[in-house]
Subunit: 148 residues, 4 copies
């Protein structure tokens, strides 16, 4: 499967590193992190990014919006085991659409890439309606971050 | 993001329907199923398929192999809420590669599509080595299923 | 550790059996269900009971209340493995307090007891305030069930 | 429900503080941490204790044993919400039995007690047999810790 990036979506310079220790209960009977748990690590990375740059779940909520995930992709390169530390790099992908797109690279404590992925979020207002245009608070945030 | 299917991968006629009730603990503070939990529903669907056609986790294990997930994609169309039932359709995608590829369509109890996705698995042997060629038990299973 | 039942709490005749298949992602690296996941099975049992007798999460919500868990105990007798089916028996414990108390017995598909436990819930109103007296809808429900 | 501590079980001086940030996916539709997730925090605390004192899961495994949980109790005093940090204090309870008993106190970032609990583990050998006597590595560990 080849994944094509959104048209007009480009890498930004905004990124964040966050470390999380693999939990015993995240490892399956093969002795490796169950594949679905990587979406928890992506969320850890995304929220650490959000706290660093002022665009976390609670910031978005304060502005009257939610930002549900509409697409996720995960590519596994190498397994994590119990005892490992996941080092999550989260990068903001700049898109003209009313979307928040992040790409993720997770390495283990030895610097080996274990997985890469991407998530796309949309905006919904207080009545769960999809925002077709980027909310003004988001446009202002992007301007403040030097993203056009 | 556009996802291109693997070259030479085609839909098969093998599919399976499995129903699972949304658990209270699978719903987030927005009142909808947390996006990462859909990978649990995909696994429910994949294992129901496996029990129906003799290619479940335990069948693969009995043959000396594991089949870790190397790629997952999820596209959300509509949320599930607590009280909903997820109706998971799992389809086997026929590929000449040493891989197991499934596509999934989840509907709610009213027949509305809530999400689609795909997973790719590889084979590893008892010493966790990647099988570059399809294991013979898998080739035989495909022949028995009328897949070439 | 010995657990003493609440004073004046007695077994009722109301009970419910619910079956759930162990998920691959619920099993840990020891090859057995991770101990915390039994609280999901208790919740499955409690909600099946609630649907049967009209006292499920959504019924309580409709009456303007929530019923958060304030105490849980789990005693493990025997492990569940992947491939097993958990057969959950949920019994209503009758108490004069403003509480919902359930006891649980989980067996495997061969009838062997794998775990027993108990949960206690209180009532909170729409502003998250603890109800010191049993809500009237709950008193009426108990009367309808023949519980005094 | 009153919980009686094991006869001859006493508090030790060994304890450990560990902090973990509440994950978005750990919060339920009531906006509070789902009760079953506290067992993950207990595990975080127990493993931090184990790394500090040399009695973590991987240390026990190295000695040829596993230590499955046979009993858990949780008493909730106050909810945790998204954005909160759980401060977990784990204390070793000294017992003459072939068991590992921990008690836990979780506070929020303001020092308010949110929950207390206890877990009991037994020892099983490489063939999953219950050890009726404390393994010699565990007796030596206790001696090294000044516990009789």
């Amino acid at each position: 499967m080849r994944i094509k990036t959104h048209k007009n979506t480009t890498h930004s310079n905004l990124s964040c590193i966050y470390e999380t220790r693999v939990r015993f209960n995240e490892v399956d009977s093969l002795g490796i992190v169950w594949h679905g748990n990587y979406l928890k690590y992506f969320e850890d990375g995304r929220e650490a990014f959000g706290r660093k740059y002022g665009i976390a779940y609670l910031d978005i909520k304060k502005n009257g919006f939610a930002s549900p995930i509409v697409q996720s992709t995960i590519d596994h390169k190498h397994p994590l085991k119990y005892g490992d530390v996941a080092v999550i790099e989260t990068k903001f992908m700049n898109s003209p659409a009313a979307k928040i797109i992040f790409s993720y690279t997770i390495k283990n404590q030895e610097g080996q890439i274990v997985c890469v992925g991407q998530t796309t979020q949309v905006f919904t207002d207080s009545s769960s309606k999809l925002a077709l245009l980027a909310p003004s608070f988001y446009i202002q945030w992007k301007a403040k971050m030097g993203l056009s």
